[in-house]
Amino acid sequence: MDPLREVSGRAIPFGRKNVDTDVIIPAKWLKTITREGLGKGAFESLRTDPDNLFDSPEFSGSPILIAGDNFGCGSSREHAAWALLDLGIKAVIAPSFSDIFSGNAFKNGILTVVLPQDAIDRLMEVAQTDPLAIDLEHQTVTTPFQDRFTFAIDPFRKHCLLNGLDEVGLTMARGAQISDYERQARENTPWLAHTA
């Protein structure tokens, strides 16, 4: 995974609440067996509108998406994160995210930024005409007009994103601890430690 330190550029002022993963990528696009090429299907039902934001000359290819509450709710499909990546989106800013989506985004190097609704409202306004800048190291979102919003992020996630670390590799390095746990489980809860 590529390290992610800053995301700056135009932000798509989408703003919708409860955007579910069926909207981000409809089920018919889930039949792939690779991770690439899903940008075509991203927000498909909205992009039938010729005036949609995603294909507008102004916002097409923007690295930031601004959304409303509960972004990414619904299915666990990681295709939603892959579709956003394929569209060129590297960060999503919203008042809240579904738990599964934010995990999927993180594991694909997409930064999810949680900010209160009034900050989102201001960023939506700025994004109509001007770029935003997200600085992960300092945990800030700034505008060309001196707005500066700070956001919280799990320190482990921050560390992994900044350094482009692969979580599977990190956990495999804890193999001895996992084996210890398995030994104890065979004693304490043997019916869980094996299958009949």
């Binding site: 089920a27 991770r35 039902s45 619904g74 738990d99 599977v168 956990t171 601890q177 398995e182």
Partner: protein, 475 residues
């Protein structure tokens, strides 16, 4: 040292901590991993590319369900019928190749045990109380009905579990949803969870694991509890949980993967110890009076858009939140409904009885009880029953339920996810309406332009007969 009182969730969590990190996140051991064909190919591909193996293939079970057509799997001569859709066939073939390559048991689409992973897991005794269970599917919350900590994961996490049998997780907050009292006639587990979804809204459970408690939950059968926990994700919860009790143990006992002999006795003793301690604190408590719950139906495009079947389509202006007003306007346009319309006057063209929420034997019995001796209305063009597994199908046929359905004008299908999501040939045509026992009424979920009304199996059956959304209590 006396430990502080803990909730069911905290006890299961504590029992599965491999390692606690300084920031509070934990490496959590995963006891059971269900794998299906849609969210696993990229995980296996990543393992292969990195030269990694599956740490515990014996704790992993693969079942195709999302893509499989629900038409007969074998022709008259007993040959396997090829899947027409090339991409679906490719995903199935990938699972059929990946499972043996990595040493994982595959229940294939022509095996009698095949079905929806969330039906197969409990049915096989693979899902157990107190276990941590994951699957690359958000309705994994379902297994919480047995008292397992079960939740959906993305494909990168599928890869992580395959490689390490663990996940790195932050502990969730806890919420108790207590439903006290007796459910009225015609009110089912599905109505309970639809009602809860209306109360909590689609994001009310975000960040929480919800434990469903109270006499109305205890009185549910295990299959009813699986239905309730199944839809925990529809209020945003990471997982749903219901404390295991004697009913749970009776349900699990004797199933193929269930513990046996001395291990069984030890397991039951441990399961009993998992119930939330008196005095344990939840971060949030929501109390619901079971008497307030009536047969429920959704009118919009979010599972939170719930009204009693006796109610009317709400006016967008009736919502306080301006963005909800806007969403409601869009939903009504998509659904082809007008504010103030009575739900029981809404005509339907399709009925779907199935999905991981409502495709178990009790669901089929409930629908058949309503349909017995009746036929679907003429305006209902397409009505299908899709059993949750081959074993559910066989049981239903032994009870003669299939005849009741076919006599009523329903098609009797092979198991799979079917019309719950538009990934296989079972789709609701654009602009048409479906009374569906599934779990999501999202835009396009049952096919592009399809209009979904989420209901219980009994309500779906009653609606098929009436040709309109119907109050099962009036039939």
């Amino acid at each position: 040292m006396a430990s502080r009182p803990r909730t069911l969730y905290e006890k299961i969590w504590d029992a599965h901590v491999v390692e606690r990190r300084d920031d509070g996140t934990c490496l959590i051991y995963i006891d059971r991993h269900l794998v299906h064909e849609v969210t696993s190919p990229q995980a296996f591909e990543a393992l292969r590319l990195a030269g990694r193996t599956v740490r515990r293939p014996d704790l992993t079970l693969a079942v195709p369900d999302h893509n499989v057509p629900t038409t007969p799997r074998r022709d008259a001569a007993g040959h396997r019928v090829p899947i027409a859709d090339a991409e679906s066939a490719q995903q199935l073939q990938a699972l059929e190749r990946n499972a043996p390559e990595f040493g994982i048991r595959l229940i294939g689409d022509t095996d009698v045990e095949q079905g929806i992973v969330h039906v197969v897991g409990p049915e096989q005794g693979f899902s157990l109380p107190g276990a941590t269970i994951v699957c690359g599917d958000s309705h994994t919350a379902c297994h919480g009905g047995l008292g397992a900590l079960a939740f959906g994961i993305g494909t990168s996490e599928v890869e992580h579990v395959l490689a390490t049998q663990t996940l790195l997780l932050a502990q969730s907050k806890t919420m108790e949803v207590r439903v006290e009292g007796q459910l009225g006639p015609g009110v089912t587990a599905k109505d309970v969870v639809l009602h809860i979804g209306g109360v909590l809204r689609a994001s009310g459970g975000t960040g929480y694991v919800v434990e469903y408690t109270g006499s109305a939950i205890r009185d549910l059968t295990i299959e009813g509890r699986l239905t309730v926990s199944n839809m925990a994700i529809e209020h945003g919860a990471r997982a749903g949980l219901i404390a295991p009790d004697d009913k749970t143990f009776a349900y699990v006992k004797g199933r193929p993967y269930a513990p046996k002999g001395e291990e069984w006795d030890k397991a039951v003793a441990w399961w009993r110890s998992l119930a939330t301690d008196p005095g344990a604190r939840y971060d949030k408590v929501v109390v619901i009076d079971a008497g307030d719950i009536v047969p429920s139906v959704t009118w919009g495009t979010s599972p939170e858009d719930v009204v009693p079947i006796t109610g009317t389509v709400p006016a967008p202006e009736s919502f306080a939140d301006p963005s909800k007003q806007d969403a409601a306007r869009k939903s009504l346009e998509y659904m082809g409904l007008t504010a103030g319309q009575k739900l029981t006057e809404v005509e339907i063209q399709n009925v779907f009885i199935g999905s991981c929420t409502n495709s178990r034997i009790e669901d089929l019995r409930a629908a058949a009880a309503v349909l017995k001796g009746k036929t679907k209305a003429r305006n209902v063009k397409w009505a299908i029953v899709v059993p949750g597994s081959g074993l559910v199908k066989r049981q239903a046929e032994q009870e003669g339920l299939d005849r009741i359905f076919t006599d009523a004008g329903f098609e009797w299908r092979e198991p799979g996810c079917s019309a719950c999501l538009g990934m296989n040939p079972d789709k609701v045509p654009p602009g048409e309406r479906c009374a569906s026992t599934s779990n999501r009424n999202f835009v396009g979920r049952q096919g592009p332009g399809a209009r979904t009304h989420l209901v219980s199996p009994a309500t779906a059956a009653a609606s098929a007969v009436a040709g309109r959304l119907a109050d099962v209590r009036a039939i």
